[in-house]
């Protein structure tokens, strides 16, 4: 699933901006959606930020600030309902707490090797769903050194 950024919104200050403070997203850029969460605060896409690529943690961005370009769902996504107010479309392994010490994202946040390796593998499957947009994403990030350093080897594996 590919989305394109149309607005920059600061969720804490609740204001629209011309540019993202941290450089994680930019208007016009295309992003591969890693998962979608539905909850009390709306719908969020998880994306790899421009500024750090895989060096940085993936971030959650508001769905309404992005336009859907490709609605192809990756083959590893499932619908997971967490509670009455929270669901997600996400790689199955990320939703299965029996695989993790705590939950996938908690283990990932603690840099547990199994979670880090799983993230990479599932990301490859996600990116493979929209191979035809990879060149566009690379071109848009020609000045993002960390993104290119960390993403290009992985994208190369996907292609």
């Amino acid at each position: 699933m590919i989305v394109q950024c149309v607005d920059i919104y600061n969720i804490f200050n609740k204001e629209y901006l011309d540019e993202n403070i941290s450089g994680s997203v930019a208007k016009g850029n295309h992003y591969s959606v890693l998962e979608i969460t539905f909850g009390a605060h709306g719908i969020f896409y998880r994306i790899v930020p421009d500024h750090g690529g895989l060096y940085a943690h993936s971030i959650l961005v508001r769905a309404q600030d992005f336009k859907i370009i490709s609605a192809r769902f990756p083959t590893n996504w499932i619908l997971n309902t967490v509670s009455k107010t929270a669901s997600r479309l996400s790689p199955a392994k990320w939703t299965d707490n029996s695989l993790w010490d705590w939950s996938f994202w908690e283990d990932f946040g603690e840099d547990k090797p199994k979670a880090l390796a799983c993230f990479r593998e599932e990301l490859k499957t996600i990116l493979a769903a929209d191979k035809d947009y990879i060149a566009t994403m690379i071109t848009e990030r020609k000045d993002y050194v960390s993104w290119r350093e960390s993403m290009l080897p992985l994208l190369n594996e996907v292609l």
Binding site: F12, H51, L60, V61, D111, P113, L116
Partner: protein
């Protein structure tokens, strides 16, 4: 080409390194003095489960030292645990002071906290070391995209200068020379050299976040998706609605000063924030993760120039 004996070599190397470090430390500091200070102790325990590394991350795992966490390898965990237990037995106590733990952390990570260090030690003990070295060199490239160093706060504790209470090492840093890290693993020397982080825009003097820092925070995980038994979930339950809490990241790019040089690094601060009340929760998992370090300084020099602040400057 792998021989299948790498693990054994690494284990041996790790243990030798740790024993040496322990011996040096014991000689220099006298283990009896540890006992005298153990009023300020934290328990040694909670050794994290040693997860045999996936192919991609062959040397990374976790050791928890009370509240402090050092990322290192399963081999080091085993070695450290032995050294800790042995020293505790000698001292006749069941805990170490925080300072002692930091000493161990410094020594252990400097000595054997990386695949390269394993390889160097392995080389000295001969045999299949060459293979280990080759593997380690590959690892340098293969784990490049993950955090090499993480600074972490101790909950609720103020800091002076660099806001760190522990240093996590996970990457096999590449040493620029064959010089033993042992000679440089000297806390006194390290303390003389001050590392200054230009973090004033993000941190207040007491180590919390400035308004600028908070405004730059981006949600990375919803706590409602966490395991209900996890420490974070339990801590935040009852502090407003759980769905309002998110783990957030604040990207940062700054310079780390070592004498005569400046090293650029990028990283991010992790902190929990309530999206509705704007409350920041500093008491758990508040940390700086350095995502990328453009090392132009030799690794030993870099490590020895990190200074630790374990007590508040009153």
């Amino acid at each position: 080409m792998a021989t299948g004996k790498e693990s054994t070599v690494k284990d041996m190397a790790a243990e030798i390194g740790l024993k040496t470090a322990s011996l040096m430390r014991d000689t220099e500091l006298y283990i009896d003095s540890f006992a005298a200070r153990h009023r300020d102790a934290v328990n040694v325990g909670k050794f994290g489960a040693a997860v045999a590394g996936a192919t991609l991350f062959p040397v990374a795992s976790t050791i928890s030292l009370g509240k402090y966490i050092i990322l290192t390898s399963p081999s080091v965990q085993t070695g450290m645990k032995k050294v800790f237990n042995s020293s505790l037995k000698q001292a006749g106590v069941d805990s170490y002071s925080r300072e002692d733990l930091s000493r161990y952390a410094t020594e252990a990570t400097t000595l054997v906290g990386s695949g390269i260090s394993y390889a160097q030690f392995g080389k000295k003990i001969g045999g299949a070391a060459r293979t280990t070295l080759n593997l380690a060199e590959k690892t340098v490239t293969r784990v490049k995209e993950v955090s090499p160093v993480t600074f972490q706060y101790e909950a609720g504790r103020l800091n002076s200068g660099i806001p760190v209470d522990a240093v996590k090492l996970r990457n096999p840093f590449k040493s620029s020379s064959g010089e033993s890290a042992l000679g440089k693993a000297n806390l006194a020397q390290a303390e003389k050299m001050k590392v200054e982080l230009e973090l004033r825009q993000i941190f207040t003097k007491d180590g919390k976040l400035t308004e600028v820092g908070i405004a730059a925070a981006e949600p990375i995980m919803g706590v409602e998706y966490f395991h209900e038994s996890s420490p974070v979930y339990k801590s935040l339950l009852g502090r407003g609605r759980i769905e309002d809490w998110h783990k957030c990241a604040i990207p940062m790019k700054t310079k780390l000063h070592v004498p005569g040089k400046e090293e650029l690094f990028s990283g991010e601060v992790h902190v929990y924030k309530n999206l509705v009340t704007k409350e920041i929760f500093y008491d758990l998992d508040y940390k700086i993760k350095i995502n990328k370090l453009d090392i132009h300084t030799s690794v030993n020099e870099f490590l020895n120039n990190i200074s630790y602040t374990w007590r508040p400057k009153l």
